[in-house]
């Protein structure tokens, strides 16, 4: 079963930031376990299930090492003191915290397109120059990658052995690839600035995020805000 919620990119950024904040605030094993399970279920039901599952497989060794280290070797921690002896509960808590941070980051990368990120940054009033350059870089990353591949193929076809010899020799082998790539990138930058002028580019341009926040997004954002505030009151201030 796949659930398509079509969540607004701004909501995604807020949810991601809230989960990371909660991961550092929460002190109870059960609460962090509940949050990890809810996050996992949400991502498993998303359309990027395959990507998430592949990512989870890669996390397993890291989590096992974290569990063992925190359970048996926490005495040598540089940051905290948790007494001495074996502490399996601490191991479980710390590996769950790591799991939650990795999982939410994985979910963010999996569900956040570059277009979404740029639109969201724009709407959060990030400096436009920085956001525009980020967008332009992302747009031309494919061009540069394509150029790199084409140059590498052309030079290999002319007998250039790239992975031959010692480290220094191998680095030197890449010079005939980097020189044309560098020249091409400068030429492309020149053409790009002309193309920008042809599209009447101005940094004072009007920009519109052609999407309003829906009731669902507002509910999710409100929920996140409430959770973070409650966690802060409970764990930091001790009011609740």
């Amino acid at each position: 079963m796949i659930i398509k919620l079509n969540v607004d990119p701004r909501t995604k950024i807020i949810v991601f930031s809230s989960v990371i904040a909660l991961a550092f605030m929460i002190r109870d094993l059960l609460v962090i376990a509940t949050l990890a399970v809810v996050t996992l279920l949400t991502l498993i039901l998303s359309s990027r299930r395959g990507f998430i599952i592949r990512g989870l497989r890669g996390m397993i060794p890291l989590l096992v090492v974290a569990f063992l280290l925190w359970s048996f070797m926490h005495e040598w921690s540089l940051f905290q003191r948790y007494g001495s002896g074996i502490n399996l509960q601490l191991g479980a808590f710390m590996s769950l915290r790591l799991f939650l941070i990795l999982l939410s980051s994985l979910g963010f990368v999996a569900t956040m397109g570059m277009r979404d990120l740029i639109n969201a940054l724009n709407s959060f009033k990030f400096p436009y120059k920085a956001v525009f350059v980020l967008g332009l870089t992302m747009r031309h990353l494919h061009t540069i990658a394509e150029d790199y591949r084409a140059i590498k193929e052309a030079q290999s076809s002319r007998g250039l052995e790239l992975d031959k010899g010692l480290l220094f020799r191998r680095i030197r082998n890449y010079v005939p690839i980097l020189i044309p790539l560098f020249i091409r990138s400068i030429e492309n930058a020149e053409k790009l600035s002309l193309a920008m002028e042809l599209r009447a580019f101005s940094l004072n341009r009007r920009r519109y995020l052609r999407r309003k926040l829906r009731a669902f997004d507002i509910a999710v954002i409100s929920g996140c805000a409430v959770a973070v505030v409650l966690a802060a009151l409970h764990y930091w201030i001790g009011v609740i």
Binding site: G113, M114, R115, I118, G135, L136, M138, R139, H142, T143, D147, A150, I151, E153, A154, Q155, S156, S157, R158, G159, L160, E161, L162, V175, P176, I179, P180, R184, N188, K191, L192, L194, A195, M196, E197, L198, R199, A200, F201, S202, N204, R205, R206, R207, Y208, R210
Partner: protein, 493 residues
């Protein structure tokens, strides 16, 4: 600003030469384009088509410094004396490298980009984007990422993004250079739609094939004469090897290939034998698997299933660099791999890498008319000369098999003749040649076998005349029909 004349783009006594250059690129040019007209400016490479395109839009002298005389009046305003920012609303341009003109991550964003720059209101932007998506048949691609589009669709988007700013005239620089036949047919429909919409169109092109029906007038730029030192002198071919009696040098046995992480196969069960001394033209629409197939010949790609054998060697056991002793590749864009400081060093780069005598490269440079320029930096060469240098570099490695990837794209007649002569010469000394091309006239003139690919499989394999002169087959396979005579009226300047 001057305001003379009625609604038209009028070129009056236009001349242009670049700074510190003695020769004029063109001079005393006079013509006009009315709204709803499509005019083609044809001429060989180096004749000044791009320079003229830049003058018509005001890129020269606004962005590129050059000495300009005469006037370019668009609805009475001289674009040569106006700011580029103001000109783009009157006359815009789709550059040859149109990918650079695309700024949005998605189709919709790119269409909105110019309108946001112009500071239009949101509802106006919405309306214009909707109009452009429908007008240019891009509605189904609205949310597509730009890098997911084919070359033809990207070009259509670049045209739409220029037109959305509502210029009355649009200049296109070599719009057909990277398109297959279907792409050219689609382009002609787009041009027709623009004409119906009352836009004036000026197309800079080397060849008009496929656009004859939408072009109203042709203007010919003759350009400067080619200097004697660049003209190629090739030996006459003798004793061409009869492929009928020779051994296969390239064998594909049930080859399947897909790129890593992709579900769909790009090559599907290819079986092919190419004999020593054959000259095989490889044709097919963009995305049919031609480039993937030739990359299997020189070992850049290895089959997922099946086997590719080159001169008895299984390509899976050799790297591309090792196979370069046997397979030479001339890539489409020579600028992508020119890396050395002189023509000589560039021509001998491959030979030095594999330890072959530099004599072959020297002979190739002589045959291709570049030996007189061996100490020049490669960037000073014209595009035709760079292609010849690229050929000399590949031939200089003395390979048994030579692959030419789209050698005719954007080339003038002189370079095409040189390439044809070189191919005939190489066949006469027993080399095997594969040419990837969309140009059916060129395929007919040089090849003795034609392999047509479609959807990753071989759709036709036989004598070029039997396939290319059979109209139903040409139409079904989406090939460019071989037509030599264009029904156009030439206006000599």
């Amino acid at each position: 600003m001057e305001a003379i004349g009625g609604e038209e783009l009028r070129v009056e006594n236009l001349g242009c030469r670049y700074e510190r250059r003695k020769d004029w690129i063109f001079r005393d040019l006079n013509f006009s384009v009315k709204p709803g007209d499509a005019v083609a400016v044809v001429g060989p490479s180096g004749s000044g088509k791009t320079t003229l395109a830049y003058c018509l839009t005001g890129i020269i002298p606004n962005r590129i410094k050059a000495e300009v005389e005469g006037r370019v009046l668009v609805d009475g305003k001289n674009v040569l004396t106006s700011r580029l920012r103001d000109n783009v609303k009157l006359v815009n341009i789709v550059l040859q490298n149109y990918e650079m003109q695309i700024f949005g991550l998605t189709v919709e964003e790119d269409l909105a980009f110019s309108l946001e720059n112009l500071g239009l209101e949101e509802h106006e932007i919405e309306a214009r984007v909707k109009w452009a998506l429908e007008k240019f048949r891009l509605s189904s691609y609205r949310s597509y990422y730009v890098h997911e589009l084919s070359g033809g669709l990207k070009q259509r988007l670049a045209i739409a993004s220029s037109i959305i700013m509502a210029p009355k005239y649009l200049v296109m620089d070599e719009p057909t250079a990277n398109l297959d036949w279907n792409g050219i047919v689609e382009l002609s429909k787009t041009i027709n739609a623009l004409k119906m919409d009352g836009r004036g169109i000026i197309i800079m092109t080397r060849r008009l094939k496929g656009l004859e029906n939408v072009i109203d007038r042709v203007i010919s730029l003759n350009g400067r004469k080619v200097s004697a030192r660049t003209a190629a002198k090739l030996p006459e071919p003798e004793n061409i090897v009869d492929p009928g009696r020779s051994e296969p040098v390239i064998t594909f046995e049930d080859v399947w290939f897909r790129y890593s992480g992709e579900r769909n196969y790009v090559l599907r069960g290819i079986n092919l034998k190419i004999l020593k001394g054959q000259c095989v033209a490889l044709m097919g629409p963009n995305g049919s698997g031609k480039t993937t197939l030739i990359k299997h010949v020189n070992g850049l790609l290895k089959p997922v299933k099946g086997k590719v054998t080159i001169l008895g060697k299984d390509t899976k056991e050799y790297s591309a660099a090792q196979l370069s002793r046997y397979v030479g590749m001339v890539f489409q864009d020579p600028d992508k791999h020119i890396t050395c400081e002189t023509v000589w060093e560039e021509a001998t780069f491959g030979a030095r890498n594999i330890g072959v005598s530099e004599n072959y490269a020297e002979e190739a440079l002589k045959a291709l008319g570049l030996i007189g320029r061996k100490d020049d930096p490669p960037y000073l060469l014209s595009m035709g000369e760079k292609i010849r240098l690229s050929m000399a570099g590949a031939i200089g490695m003395n390979p048994e098999i030579l692959i030419l990837d789209e050698p005719t794209t954007g080339q003038d007649e002189e370079t095409l003749m040189t390439i044809s002569s070189m191919i005939n010469y190489l066949r006469s000394v027993g080399k095997t040649i594969i040419i990837v091309t969309h140009d059916s006239d060129f395929a007919l003139s040089v090849s003795d076998r034609l392999v047509v690919m479609k959807d990753g499989a071989i759709a036709a394999d036989g004598a070029p005349k039997e396939i290319l002169l059979n109209w139903p087959i040409v139409e079904e396979l989406g090939l460019e029909p071989p037509i030599d005579i264009l029904q156009v009226v030439e206006v000599e300047l």
